[in-house]
Amino acid sequence: MDWSVILSDAIRSGIGPVAAVYALAAIGLNLHFGYTGLLNFGQVAFMLVGAYGVAASVSTYGLPLWVGVLIGLGSSVLLALLLGLPTLRLRAEYLAIATIAAGEILRLFYRSSWAEPVTGGVFGLQRFATEFYDISPIPRDTYGFWLVRFTSRDLWALSVAWAVVLLATALIALLVHSPWGRVIRSIREDEDAVRSLGKSVYAYKMQSLVLGGVLGSMAGMMLAIQNQSVNPDSYDPVVTFFLYTILVLGGAGRVFGPIVGSILFWALLTFFDSALREAIAAGYISPDVISAPEVGAVRFALVGLGLMLLMIFRPQGLLGSRKEMLLDAR
Protein backbone atom coordinates (compact mmCIF):
# COMPACT_ATOMS: atom_id res chain seq x y z
CA MET A 1 0.00 0.00 0.00
CA ASP A 2 1.67 3.18 -1.22
CA TRP A 3 0.67 6.09 1.00
CA SER A 4 2.48 8.62 -1.16
CA VAL A 5 0.20 7.73 -4.08
CA ILE A 6 -2.89 8.05 -1.91
CA LEU A 7 -1.83 11.40 -0.49
CA SER A 8 -0.75 12.69 -3.87
CA ASP A 9 -4.09 11.74 -5.41
CA ALA A 10 -6.03 13.34 -2.56
CA ILE A 11 -4.11 16.61 -2.66
CA ARG A 12 -4.21 16.81 -6.44
CA SER A 13 -7.95 16.39 -6.35
CA GLY A 14 -8.46 18.85 -3.47
CA ILE A 15 -6.62 21.70 -5.18
CA GLY A 16 -7.35 20.62 -8.74
CA PRO A 17 -9.52 22.39 -11.29
CA VAL A 18 -12.63 20.32 -10.54
CA ALA A 19 -12.56 21.38 -6.88
CA ALA A 20 -12.35 24.99 -8.03
CA VAL A 21 -15.34 24.50 -10.34
CA TYR A 22 -17.42 23.01 -7.55
CA ALA A 23 -16.30 25.74 -5.16
CA LEU A 24 -17.49 28.40 -7.60
CA ALA A 25 -20.86 26.72 -8.18
CA ALA A 26 -21.20 26.32 -4.41
CA ILE A 27 -20.47 30.03 -3.91
CA GLY A 28 -23.49 30.76 -6.09
CA LEU A 29 -25.55 28.24 -4.17
CA ASN A 30 -24.33 29.75 -0.90
CA LEU A 31 -25.73 33.10 -1.98
CA HIS A 32 -29.06 31.41 -2.74
CA PHE A 33 -29.36 29.01 0.14
CA GLY A 34 -26.89 30.20 2.77
CA TYR A 35 -27.67 33.91 2.63
CA THR A 36 -31.08 34.41 0.98
CA GLY A 37 -32.69 31.15 2.07
CA LEU A 38 -33.69 30.23 -1.49
CA LEU A 39 -34.01 26.48 -1.92
CA ASN A 40 -32.36 26.07 -5.31
CA PHE A 41 -32.13 22.37 -6.14
CA GLY A 42 -31.15 23.02 -9.73
CA GLN A 43 -27.80 24.77 -9.56
CA VAL A 44 -26.62 22.21 -12.12
CA ALA A 45 -29.01 23.75 -14.66
CA PHE A 46 -27.06 27.00 -14.48
CA MET A 47 -23.82 25.07 -14.96
CA LEU A 48 -25.37 23.32 -17.96
CA VAL A 49 -26.46 26.48 -19.76
CA GLY A 50 -23.09 28.08 -19.06
CA ALA A 51 -21.15 25.09 -20.38
CA TYR A 52 -23.26 24.78 -23.51
CA GLY A 53 -23.26 28.52 -24.04
CA VAL A 54 -19.50 28.27 -24.54
CA ALA A 55 -19.41 24.90 -26.27
CA ALA A 56 -22.19 25.46 -28.79
CA SER A 57 -21.13 29.01 -29.63
CA VAL A 58 -17.60 27.93 -30.46
CA SER A 59 -18.13 24.42 -31.75
CA THR A 60 -21.42 24.76 -33.62
CA TYR A 61 -21.38 28.39 -34.70
CA GLY A 62 -17.64 29.02 -34.88
CA LEU A 63 -17.78 32.13 -32.68
CA PRO A 64 -14.78 33.27 -30.61
CA LEU A 65 -14.52 31.89 -27.07
CA TRP A 66 -15.21 35.21 -25.36
CA VAL A 67 -18.51 35.55 -27.25
CA GLY A 68 -19.37 32.06 -26.04
CA VAL A 69 -18.67 33.17 -22.46
CA LEU A 70 -21.02 36.12 -22.87
CA ILE A 71 -23.70 33.87 -24.35
CA GLY A 72 -23.28 31.47 -21.43
CA LEU A 73 -23.66 34.31 -18.92
CA GLY A 74 -26.70 35.62 -20.81
CA SER A 75 -28.34 32.19 -20.80
CA SER A 76 -27.94 31.90 -17.05
CA VAL A 77 -29.53 35.32 -16.46
CA LEU A 78 -32.41 34.29 -18.70
CA LEU A 79 -32.79 30.97 -16.88
CA ALA A 80 -32.81 32.71 -13.48
CA LEU A 81 -35.51 35.12 -14.64
CA LEU A 82 -37.60 32.30 -16.10
CA LEU A 83 -37.34 30.30 -12.89
CA GLY A 84 -37.83 33.25 -10.58
CA LEU A 85 -40.70 35.10 -12.22
CA PRO A 86 -43.39 32.52 -11.43
CA THR A 87 -41.96 31.04 -8.22
CA LEU A 88 -40.32 33.73 -6.11
CA ARG A 89 -43.63 35.19 -4.98
CA LEU A 90 -44.67 31.78 -3.73
CA ARG A 91 -43.45 29.81 -0.72
CA ALA A 92 -39.89 28.51 -0.78
CA GLU A 93 -40.84 24.94 -1.67
CA TYR A 94 -42.09 25.96 -5.09
CA LEU A 95 -38.70 27.23 -6.14
CA ALA A 96 -37.19 23.94 -5.01
CA ILE A 97 -39.59 21.95 -7.17
CA ALA A 98 -39.25 24.28 -10.16
CA THR A 99 -35.46 24.26 -10.06
CA ILE A 100 -35.03 20.51 -9.72
CA ALA A 101 -37.47 20.01 -12.58
CA ALA A 102 -35.84 22.66 -14.74
CA GLY A 103 -32.46 20.99 -14.31
CA GLU A 104 -33.74 17.67 -15.58
CA ILE A 105 -35.83 19.20 -18.36
CA LEU A 106 -32.84 21.15 -19.66
CA ARG A 107 -30.58 18.11 -19.53
CA LEU A 108 -33.09 16.01 -21.47
CA PHE A 109 -33.69 18.85 -23.90
CA TYR A 110 -29.98 19.36 -24.59
CA ARG A 111 -29.46 15.65 -25.22
CA SER A 112 -32.55 15.24 -27.42
CA SER A 113 -32.12 14.44 -31.08
CA TRP A 114 -34.09 17.58 -31.88
CA ALA A 115 -31.38 19.74 -30.34
CA GLU A 116 -28.56 17.61 -31.71
CA PRO A 117 -27.56 19.96 -34.58
CA VAL A 118 -26.71 22.59 -31.92
CA THR A 119 -25.79 20.63 -28.80
CA GLY A 120 -24.45 17.42 -30.29
CA GLY A 121 -27.16 15.45 -28.48
CA VAL A 122 -25.95 12.46 -26.49
CA PHE A 123 -22.48 12.79 -28.03
CA GLY A 124 -21.99 16.29 -26.71
CA LEU A 125 -19.44 18.71 -28.11
CA GLN A 126 -15.66 18.57 -28.01
CA ARG A 127 -12.58 20.71 -28.49
CA PHE A 128 -13.94 24.22 -28.33
CA ALA A 129 -11.49 25.70 -25.85
CA THR A 130 -8.19 25.63 -27.71
CA GLU A 131 -8.22 29.44 -27.61
CA PHE A 132 -8.12 29.23 -23.83
CA TYR A 133 -5.06 27.02 -23.79
CA ASP A 134 -3.36 29.00 -26.56
CA ILE A 135 -3.18 32.09 -24.38
CA SER A 136 -1.61 30.18 -21.48
CA PRO A 137 1.60 31.94 -20.39
CA ILE A 138 2.88 28.79 -18.67
CA PRO A 139 5.68 27.01 -20.61
CA ARG A 140 5.14 23.31 -21.39
CA ASP A 141 6.46 21.31 -18.47
CA THR A 142 5.23 19.66 -15.32
CA TYR A 143 5.02 21.67 -12.13
CA GLY A 144 4.39 20.78 -8.55
CA PHE A 145 5.47 20.52 -4.95
CA TRP A 146 6.09 17.64 -2.57
CA LEU A 147 4.17 14.64 -3.97
CA VAL A 148 1.97 16.60 -6.34
CA ARG A 149 2.55 17.20 -10.06
CA PHE A 150 0.43 19.06 -12.59
CA THR A 151 0.92 19.45 -16.33
CA SER A 152 1.24 23.04 -17.59
CA ARG A 153 -2.21 22.64 -19.13
CA ASP A 154 -3.84 21.66 -15.82
CA LEU A 155 -1.87 24.29 -13.94
CA TRP A 156 -3.17 27.00 -16.29
CA ALA A 157 -6.75 25.75 -15.94
CA LEU A 158 -6.60 25.48 -12.18
CA SER A 159 -4.91 28.86 -11.73
CA VAL A 160 -7.58 30.61 -13.74
CA ALA A 161 -10.33 28.65 -11.97
CA TRP A 162 -9.05 29.43 -8.46
CA ALA A 163 -8.50 33.07 -9.40
CA VAL A 164 -12.15 33.28 -10.45
CA VAL A 165 -13.14 31.55 -7.18
CA LEU A 166 -11.20 34.10 -5.14
CA LEU A 167 -12.72 37.00 -7.06
CA ALA A 168 -16.21 35.56 -6.54
CA THR A 169 -15.48 35.10 -2.83
CA ALA A 170 -14.35 38.72 -2.55
CA LEU A 171 -17.52 39.82 -4.34
CA ILE A 172 -19.72 37.83 -1.96
CA ALA A 173 -17.79 39.08 1.08
CA LEU A 174 -18.33 42.68 -0.01
CA LEU A 175 -21.99 42.11 -0.82
CA VAL A 176 -23.10 40.25 2.29
CA HIS A 177 -21.51 42.83 4.56
CA SER A 178 -23.25 45.69 2.77
CA PRO A 179 -26.78 46.93 3.40
CA TRP A 180 -27.83 44.83 0.39
CA GLY A 181 -26.49 41.75 2.15
CA ARG A 182 -28.35 42.75 5.30
CA VAL A 183 -31.60 42.72 3.35
CA ILE A 184 -31.02 39.28 1.82
CA ARG A 185 -29.92 37.78 5.16
CA SER A 186 -33.09 39.22 6.67
CA ILE A 187 -35.17 37.61 3.94
CA ARG A 188 -33.61 34.29 4.95
CA GLU A 189 -34.81 34.89 8.52
CA ASP A 190 -38.34 36.14 7.89
CA GLU A 191 -39.50 37.66 4.65
CA ASP A 192 -42.73 39.08 6.06
CA ALA A 193 -40.75 41.19 8.50
CA VAL A 194 -38.65 42.55 5.64
CA ARG A 195 -41.77 43.30 3.63
CA SER A 196 -43.37 45.10 6.56
CA LEU A 197 -40.35 47.42 6.68
CA GLY A 198 -40.79 48.58 3.09
CA LYS A 199 -38.38 46.37 1.13
CA SER A 200 -39.42 44.62 -2.06
CA VAL A 201 -38.57 41.05 -1.10
CA TYR A 202 -39.32 39.81 -4.60
CA ALA A 203 -36.78 42.11 -6.23
CA TYR A 204 -34.04 41.10 -3.78
CA LYS A 205 -34.73 37.39 -4.21
CA MET A 206 -34.56 37.82 -7.95
CA GLN A 207 -31.24 39.65 -7.75
CA SER A 208 -29.85 36.91 -5.56
CA LEU A 209 -31.13 34.16 -7.86
CA VAL A 210 -29.62 35.82 -10.93
CA LEU A 211 -26.28 36.53 -9.31
CA GLY A 212 -25.89 33.05 -7.83
CA GLY A 213 -27.01 31.55 -11.13
CA VAL A 214 -24.40 33.54 -13.04
CA LEU A 215 -21.71 32.18 -10.69
CA GLY A 216 -23.06 28.68 -11.35
CA SER A 217 -22.88 29.20 -15.10
CA MET A 218 -19.26 30.39 -14.79
CA ALA A 219 -18.50 27.16 -12.96
CA GLY A 220 -20.12 25.23 -15.81
CA MET A 221 -18.03 27.09 -18.36
CA MET A 222 -14.82 26.35 -16.50
CA LEU A 223 -15.71 22.68 -16.28
CA ALA A 224 -16.41 22.57 -20.02
CA ILE A 225 -13.20 24.39 -20.85
CA GLN A 226 -11.08 22.13 -18.63
CA ASN A 227 -12.48 18.98 -20.17
CA GLN A 228 -12.58 20.43 -23.69
CA SER A 229 -15.87 18.58 -23.89
CA VAL A 230 -19.48 18.79 -22.75
CA ASN A 231 -21.96 15.99 -22.40
CA PRO A 232 -25.50 16.48 -21.11
CA ASP A 233 -25.38 13.48 -18.83
CA SER A 234 -22.57 14.89 -16.72
CA TYR A 235 -25.07 17.57 -15.61
CA ASP A 236 -27.45 15.36 -13.66
CA PRO A 237 -29.13 16.31 -10.36
CA VAL A 238 -26.42 14.58 -8.35
CA VAL A 239 -24.11 17.52 -9.09
CA THR A 240 -26.46 19.82 -7.18
CA PHE A 241 -26.49 17.41 -4.24
CA PHE A 242 -22.68 17.38 -4.23
CA LEU A 243 -22.83 21.15 -4.09
CA TYR A 244 -25.15 21.01 -1.09
CA THR A 245 -22.80 18.49 0.54
CA ILE A 246 -19.92 20.90 -0.03
CA LEU A 247 -21.95 23.76 1.40
CA VAL A 248 -22.93 21.82 4.50
CA LEU A 249 -19.37 20.58 5.00
CA GLY A 250 -17.86 24.04 4.82
CA GLY A 251 -20.70 25.86 6.54
CA ALA A 252 -23.63 27.51 4.76
CA GLY A 253 -23.84 31.26 5.06
CA ARG A 254 -20.07 31.58 5.52
CA VAL A 255 -17.95 33.41 2.99
CA PHE A 256 -15.21 30.76 2.86
CA GLY A 257 -17.56 27.82 3.42
CA PRO A 258 -17.76 26.76 -0.26
CA ILE A 259 -13.95 26.84 -0.72
CA VAL A 260 -13.19 24.83 2.41
CA GLY A 261 -16.08 22.49 1.65
CA SER A 262 -15.05 21.84 -1.93
CA ILE A 263 -11.37 21.22 -1.17
CA LEU A 264 -12.31 18.85 1.63
CA PHE A 265 -15.02 17.07 -0.35
CA TRP A 266 -12.78 16.30 -3.32
CA ALA A 267 -9.72 15.49 -1.22
CA LEU A 268 -11.73 13.07 0.95
CA LEU A 269 -13.51 11.49 -1.98
CA THR A 270 -10.27 10.85 -3.81
CA PHE A 271 -8.52 9.78 -0.62
CA PHE A 272 -11.11 7.05 0.00
CA ASP A 273 -11.06 6.05 -3.64
CA SER A 274 -7.29 5.80 -3.81
CA ALA A 275 -6.92 4.20 -0.38
CA LEU A 276 -9.51 1.52 -1.16
CA ARG A 277 -7.89 0.68 -4.48
CA GLU A 278 -4.46 0.51 -2.89
CA ALA A 279 -5.78 -1.64 -0.07
CA ILE A 280 -7.47 -4.04 -2.49
CA ALA A 281 -4.34 -4.21 -4.66
CA ALA A 282 -2.20 -4.90 -1.59
CA GLY A 283 -4.64 -7.60 -0.47
CA TYR A 284 -5.68 -5.89 2.79
CA ILE A 285 -9.30 -5.96 1.63
CA SER A 286 -10.53 -9.19 0.09
CA PRO A 287 -12.16 -8.73 -3.35
CA ASP A 288 -15.11 -10.66 -1.89
CA VAL A 289 -15.82 -7.74 0.46
CA ILE A 290 -15.21 -4.84 -1.93
CA SER A 291 -14.16 -5.46 -5.50
CA ALA A 292 -12.36 -2.78 -7.51
CA PRO A 293 -15.42 -1.78 -9.59
CA GLU A 294 -17.36 -1.19 -6.38
CA VAL A 295 -14.89 1.34 -5.04
CA GLY A 296 -16.63 4.16 -6.87
CA ALA A 297 -19.80 3.57 -4.89
CA VAL A 298 -18.17 2.77 -1.57
CA ARG A 299 -16.20 6.03 -1.51
CA PHE A 300 -19.49 7.95 -1.66
CA ALA A 301 -20.84 5.85 1.20
CA LEU A 302 -17.76 6.78 3.22
CA VAL A 303 -18.16 10.49 2.43
CA GLY A 304 -21.81 10.10 3.46
CA LEU A 305 -20.69 8.57 6.73
CA GLY A 306 -18.33 11.47 7.23
CA LEU A 307 -21.19 13.89 6.60
CA MET A 308 -23.34 12.09 9.17
CA LEU A 309 -20.59 12.35 11.76
CA LEU A 310 -20.27 16.03 10.96
CA MET A 311 -24.01 16.52 11.43
CA ILE A 312 -23.79 14.85 14.82
CA PHE A 313 -20.68 16.56 16.16
CA ARG A 314 -20.53 19.81 14.21
CA PRO A 315 -23.93 20.47 12.58
CA GLN A 316 -23.01 24.05 11.66
CA GLY A 317 -20.27 22.87 9.26
CA LEU A 318 -16.55 23.45 9.65
CA LEU A 319 -16.71 27.24 9.52
CA GLY A 320 -20.21 27.76 10.92
CA SER A 321 -21.04 29.26 14.29
CA ARG A 322 -22.68 26.90 16.72
CA LYS A 323 -24.39 29.77 18.49
CA GLU A 324 -26.07 30.84 15.27
CA MET A 325 -27.05 27.25 14.50
CA LEU A 326 -28.84 26.86 17.83
CA LEU A 327 -30.83 30.05 17.26
CA ASP A 328 -32.07 28.58 14.04
CA ALA A 329 -33.49 25.59 15.86
CA ARG A 330 -36.19 27.48 17.72
Partner: protein, 279 residues
Protein backbone atom coordinates in the same frame (compact mmCIF):
# COMPACT_ATOMS: atom_id res chain seq x y z
CA UNK B 1 -57.37 65.62 20.65
CA UNK B 2 -59.57 63.77 23.09
CA UNK B 3 -61.83 66.81 23.45
CA UNK B 4 -62.35 66.97 19.69
CA UNK B 5 -63.11 63.29 19.47
CA UNK B 6 -65.52 63.53 22.39
CA UNK B 7 -67.72 65.89 20.36
CA UNK B 8 -68.41 63.24 17.73
CA UNK B 9 -71.39 60.97 17.77
CA UNK B 10 -70.37 57.54 18.96
CA UNK B 11 -71.68 55.60 15.99
CA UNK B 12 -69.89 52.93 13.95
CA UNK B 13 -68.35 54.56 10.86
CA UNK B 14 -68.50 58.11 12.21
CA UNK B 15 -66.45 60.71 10.27
CA UNK B 16 -63.37 62.06 12.11
CA UNK B 17 -62.09 65.65 12.02
CA UNK B 18 -58.72 64.65 10.46
CA UNK B 19 -58.69 61.03 9.34
CA UNK B 20 -55.38 59.48 8.30
CA UNK B 21 -56.67 56.05 7.29
CA UNK B 22 -60.10 55.69 5.70
CA UNK B 23 -61.53 52.25 5.00
CA UNK B 24 -64.57 51.81 2.76
CA UNK B 25 -66.65 48.69 2.21
CA UNK B 26 -63.82 46.24 2.81
CA UNK B 27 -64.76 42.58 2.81
CA UNK B 28 -62.59 39.51 3.11
CA UNK B 29 -64.03 36.01 3.13
CA UNK B 30 -62.26 32.72 3.68
CA UNK B 31 -64.41 30.22 1.85
CA UNK B 32 -67.88 30.71 3.27
CA UNK B 33 -66.70 32.58 6.35
CA UNK B 34 -66.86 36.36 6.05
CA UNK B 35 -63.94 37.39 8.27
CA UNK B 36 -64.17 41.10 7.61
CA UNK B 37 -67.05 43.26 6.45
CA UNK B 38 -66.36 46.88 7.34
CA UNK B 39 -68.70 49.50 5.84
CA UNK B 40 -66.74 52.58 6.79
CA UNK B 41 -64.00 53.26 9.28
CA UNK B 42 -61.81 56.29 9.85
CA UNK B 43 -58.69 56.39 11.99
CA UNK B 44 -57.91 59.82 13.40
CA UNK B 45 -54.48 61.30 12.79
CA UNK B 46 -52.29 61.76 15.86
CA UNK B 47 -54.50 59.68 18.14
CA UNK B 48 -54.23 56.27 19.72
CA UNK B 49 -56.99 54.09 18.33
CA UNK B 50 -57.59 50.67 19.84
CA UNK B 51 -59.20 47.97 17.79
CA UNK B 52 -60.90 45.57 20.19
CA UNK B 53 -63.18 42.62 19.89
CA UNK B 54 -63.34 38.97 20.86
CA UNK B 55 -61.25 36.29 19.17
CA UNK B 56 -62.28 35.80 15.57
CA UNK B 57 -63.77 39.28 15.25
CA UNK B 58 -61.64 40.00 12.18
CA UNK B 59 -59.28 42.54 13.75
CA UNK B 60 -56.08 40.93 12.55
CA UNK B 61 -57.55 40.19 9.13
CA UNK B 62 -58.47 43.85 8.73
CA UNK B 63 -54.90 44.71 9.76
CA UNK B 64 -53.49 42.30 7.21
CA UNK B 65 -55.67 43.62 4.42
CA UNK B 66 -54.92 47.27 5.09
CA UNK B 67 -51.16 46.67 5.45
CA UNK B 68 -51.00 44.71 2.18
CA UNK B 69 -50.38 41.29 3.72
CA UNK B 70 -53.74 39.95 2.58
CA UNK B 71 -56.07 40.70 -0.31
CA UNK B 72 -59.51 42.19 0.14
CA UNK B 73 -62.38 40.69 -1.83
CA UNK B 74 -63.86 44.14 -2.28
CA UNK B 75 -63.59 47.64 -0.93
CA UNK B 76 -61.05 50.43 -0.93
CA UNK B 77 -58.96 52.36 1.55
CA UNK B 78 -56.86 55.49 1.49
CA UNK B 79 -53.89 56.44 3.63
CA UNK B 80 -52.94 60.06 4.11
CA UNK B 81 -55.19 61.02 1.20
CA UNK B 82 -53.58 58.59 -1.25
CA UNK B 83 -55.31 55.45 -2.48
CA UNK B 84 -53.40 52.39 -1.26
CA UNK B 85 -56.02 49.74 -2.06
CA UNK B 86 -54.40 46.48 -3.03
CA UNK B 87 -50.86 47.89 -2.78
CA UNK B 88 -48.20 45.36 -1.87
CA UNK B 89 -46.98 45.36 1.72
CA UNK B 90 -43.66 47.04 1.05
CA UNK B 91 -45.31 49.90 -0.85
CA UNK B 92 -47.74 50.48 2.00
CA UNK B 93 -44.81 50.57 4.43
CA UNK B 94 -42.93 53.06 2.27
CA UNK B 95 -45.98 55.34 2.35
CA UNK B 96 -45.55 55.51 6.11
CA UNK B 97 -47.91 52.83 7.40
CA UNK B 98 -45.80 50.31 9.27
CA UNK B 99 -47.13 47.31 11.15
CA UNK B 100 -45.88 44.82 13.70
CA UNK B 101 -46.98 41.25 14.13
CA UNK B 102 -48.86 39.34 16.80
CA UNK B 103 -46.13 36.68 16.78
CA UNK B 104 -43.00 38.80 16.79
CA UNK B 105 -40.90 38.59 13.68
CA UNK B 106 -37.42 39.31 14.90
CA UNK B 107 -34.62 38.33 12.55
CA UNK B 108 -32.98 35.74 14.80
CA UNK B 109 -29.58 35.33 13.19
CA UNK B 110 -28.99 39.04 12.78
CA UNK B 111 -27.81 41.20 15.65
CA UNK B 112 -30.25 43.50 17.42
CA UNK B 113 -28.48 46.45 15.81
CA UNK B 114 -28.73 44.89 12.34
CA UNK B 115 -32.46 44.38 12.91
CA UNK B 116 -32.70 48.12 13.46
CA UNK B 117 -30.44 49.11 10.56
CA UNK B 118 -32.39 46.98 8.12
CA UNK B 119 -35.51 49.03 8.72
CA UNK B 120 -34.15 52.43 7.70
CA UNK B 121 -35.51 53.37 4.30
CA UNK B 122 -33.85 54.96 1.30
CA UNK B 123 -30.51 53.26 1.88
CA UNK B 124 -28.16 53.66 -1.07
CA UNK B 125 -26.20 50.55 -0.09
CA UNK B 126 -29.29 48.40 -0.54
CA UNK B 127 -28.96 48.74 -4.30
CA UNK B 128 -26.98 45.83 -5.72
CA UNK B 129 -24.72 48.01 -7.85
CA UNK B 130 -23.87 50.49 -5.11
CA UNK B 131 -23.47 47.83 -2.41
CA UNK B 132 -20.05 47.08 -3.89
CA UNK B 133 -18.91 50.67 -3.32
CA UNK B 134 -18.80 51.23 0.45
CA UNK B 135 -17.68 54.88 0.15
CA UNK B 136 -21.07 55.62 -1.41
CA UNK B 137 -23.06 54.39 1.56
CA UNK B 138 -20.75 54.40 4.59
CA UNK B 139 -21.67 57.93 5.68
CA UNK B 140 -25.38 57.19 5.45
CA UNK B 141 -24.77 53.95 7.34
CA UNK B 142 -23.14 55.88 10.20
CA UNK B 143 -26.07 58.26 10.36
CA UNK B 144 -28.54 55.34 10.46
CA UNK B 145 -26.47 53.65 13.18
CA UNK B 146 -26.64 56.79 15.29
CA UNK B 147 -30.43 56.88 14.95
CA UNK B 148 -30.68 53.17 15.72
CA UNK B 149 -28.57 53.59 18.86
CA UNK B 150 -30.83 56.41 20.06
CA UNK B 151 -33.90 54.24 19.62
CA UNK B 152 -32.26 51.21 21.26
CA UNK B 153 -31.41 53.45 24.19
CA UNK B 154 -34.97 54.69 24.45
CA UNK B 155 -36.34 51.14 24.39
CA UNK B 156 -33.68 49.96 26.88
CA UNK B 157 -32.14 47.50 24.43
CA UNK B 158 -28.66 49.06 24.22
CA UNK B 159 -27.22 46.30 26.37
CA UNK B 160 -28.30 43.72 23.79
CA UNK B 161 -27.12 45.79 20.81
CA UNK B 162 -24.60 43.29 19.46
CA UNK B 163 -26.34 40.08 20.52
CA UNK B 164 -28.24 37.90 18.08
CA UNK B 165 -31.89 39.00 18.11
CA UNK B 166 -32.78 35.32 18.57
CA UNK B 167 -31.41 35.47 22.13
CA UNK B 168 -33.92 38.12 23.24
CA UNK B 169 -36.79 37.30 25.59
CA UNK B 170 -40.38 37.52 24.36
CA UNK B 171 -40.89 40.95 25.87
CA UNK B 172 -37.61 42.29 24.50
CA UNK B 173 -38.65 41.08 21.06
CA UNK B 174 -41.85 43.12 21.28
CA UNK B 175 -39.76 46.16 22.21
CA UNK B 176 -37.33 45.50 19.36
CA UNK B 177 -40.15 45.16 16.88
CA UNK B 178 -41.62 48.45 17.98
CA UNK B 179 -38.26 50.21 17.87
CA UNK B 180 -37.53 48.69 14.47
CA UNK B 181 -40.85 49.96 13.09
CA UNK B 182 -39.84 53.47 14.17
CA UNK B 183 -36.64 53.24 12.10
CA UNK B 184 -38.87 53.47 9.02
CA UNK B 185 -40.03 56.94 10.26
CA UNK B 186 -43.70 56.00 9.86
CA UNK B 187 -46.66 58.36 10.09
CA UNK B 188 -48.75 55.54 11.49
CA UNK B 189 -47.85 52.35 13.30
CA UNK B 190 -50.24 49.42 13.51
CA UNK B 191 -49.41 47.16 16.42
CA UNK B 192 -50.94 43.69 16.32
CA UNK B 193 -51.47 42.63 19.95
CA UNK B 194 -48.37 44.37 21.31
CA UNK B 195 -49.16 43.16 24.82
CA UNK B 196 -49.78 39.49 24.05
CA UNK B 197 -47.58 37.20 26.09
CA UNK B 198 -45.82 40.01 27.93
CA UNK B 199 -45.47 40.11 31.70
CA UNK B 200 -47.41 42.83 33.58
CA UNK B 201 -44.33 44.93 34.39
CA UNK B 202 -43.30 45.09 30.75
CA UNK B 203 -46.90 45.78 29.72
CA UNK B 204 -46.70 49.07 31.61
CA UNK B 205 -43.49 50.00 29.86
CA UNK B 206 -44.93 49.07 26.45
CA UNK B 207 -48.00 51.18 27.16
CA UNK B 208 -45.89 54.18 28.05
CA UNK B 209 -43.91 53.74 24.84
CA UNK B 210 -47.18 53.78 22.91
CA UNK B 211 -48.34 57.01 24.52
CA UNK B 212 -44.90 58.51 23.86
CA UNK B 213 -45.36 57.80 20.16
CA UNK B 214 -48.67 59.60 20.16
CA UNK B 215 -47.16 62.54 22.03
CA UNK B 216 -44.56 62.84 19.29
CA UNK B 217 -47.34 63.21 16.74
CA UNK B 218 -47.47 59.67 15.46
CA UNK B 219 -50.74 57.90 14.78
CA UNK B 220 -51.07 54.58 16.57
CA UNK B 221 -53.59 51.87 15.96
CA UNK B 222 -53.37 48.67 17.94
CA UNK B 223 -55.25 45.44 18.21
CA UNK B 224 -56.03 44.09 21.63
CA UNK B 225 -58.70 41.85 22.98
CA UNK B 226 -58.15 42.61 26.65
CA UNK B 227 -60.44 45.59 27.32
CA UNK B 228 -58.73 46.66 30.56
CA UNK B 229 -55.43 47.34 28.81
CA UNK B 230 -57.13 49.48 26.23
CA UNK B 231 -59.07 51.77 28.55
CA UNK B 232 -56.15 53.63 30.04
CA UNK B 233 -54.28 54.73 26.96
CA UNK B 234 -56.67 54.88 24.01
CA UNK B 235 -58.15 58.10 22.68
CA UNK B 236 -60.66 56.20 20.66
CA UNK B 237 -61.84 52.60 20.67
CA UNK B 238 -63.28 50.65 17.77
CA UNK B 239 -64.99 47.39 18.61
CA UNK B 240 -65.36 44.66 16.02
CA UNK B 241 -67.45 41.50 16.22
CA UNK B 242 -68.00 38.86 13.58
CA UNK B 243 -66.16 40.93 11.01
CA UNK B 244 -68.10 44.15 11.46
CA UNK B 245 -67.52 47.34 13.38
CA UNK B 246 -70.22 47.25 16.07
CA UNK B 247 -69.25 50.25 18.17
CA UNK B 248 -66.93 53.25 18.24
CA UNK B 249 -66.24 55.93 20.78
CA UNK B 250 -64.02 57.05 23.62
CA UNK B 251 -63.06 54.22 25.97
CA UNK B 252 -65.58 54.96 28.71
CA UNK B 253 -68.47 55.17 26.23
CA UNK B 254 -67.50 51.96 24.43
CA UNK B 255 -67.16 50.07 27.71
CA UNK B 256 -70.81 50.78 28.46
CA UNK B 257 -72.08 50.18 24.94
CA UNK B 258 -74.49 47.22 24.91
CA UNK B 259 -73.24 46.11 21.47
CA UNK B 260 -69.74 45.72 22.94
CA UNK B 261 -70.99 43.81 25.93
CA UNK B 262 -72.96 41.57 23.57
CA UNK B 263 -69.88 41.02 21.48
CA UNK B 264 -67.85 39.87 24.45
CA UNK B 265 -70.51 38.00 26.40
CA UNK B 266 -72.75 36.76 23.60
CA UNK B 267 -76.01 38.19 22.38
CA UNK B 268 -79.17 37.77 24.39
CA UNK B 269 -82.15 37.00 22.28
CA UNK B 270 -85.44 38.33 23.57
CA UNK B 271 -87.30 36.39 20.94
CA UNK B 272 -86.56 32.72 20.57
CA UNK B 273 -84.93 31.89 17.25
CA UNK B 274 -87.24 30.54 14.62
CA UNK B 275 -86.70 27.06 13.32
CA UNK B 276 -85.05 26.97 9.91
CA UNK B 277 -87.32 25.71 7.19
CA UNK B 278 -86.81 22.20 6.00
CA UNK B 279 -88.28 20.72 2.88
Amino acid sequence: MRAELAKLSFEPGVAKPDPLLVVDGVTRAFGGLVAVHVEHLEIERGAITALIGPNGAGKSTLFNVVSGFDRADSGSWTFDGAPVTGRSAHRVARRGLVRTFQLTKTLSRLSVLENMLLAANGQRGERLGLALLPPVWLRQEREIKRRADELLDRFRLSRMRDEYAGTLSGGQRKLLEMARALMVRPTMVMLDEPMAGVNPALTQSLLSHITDLRDEGMTVCFVEHDMDVVMGISDWVVCMAEGEVVAEGPPHAVAKNPAVIDAYLGKQHDEPGTEPDHE
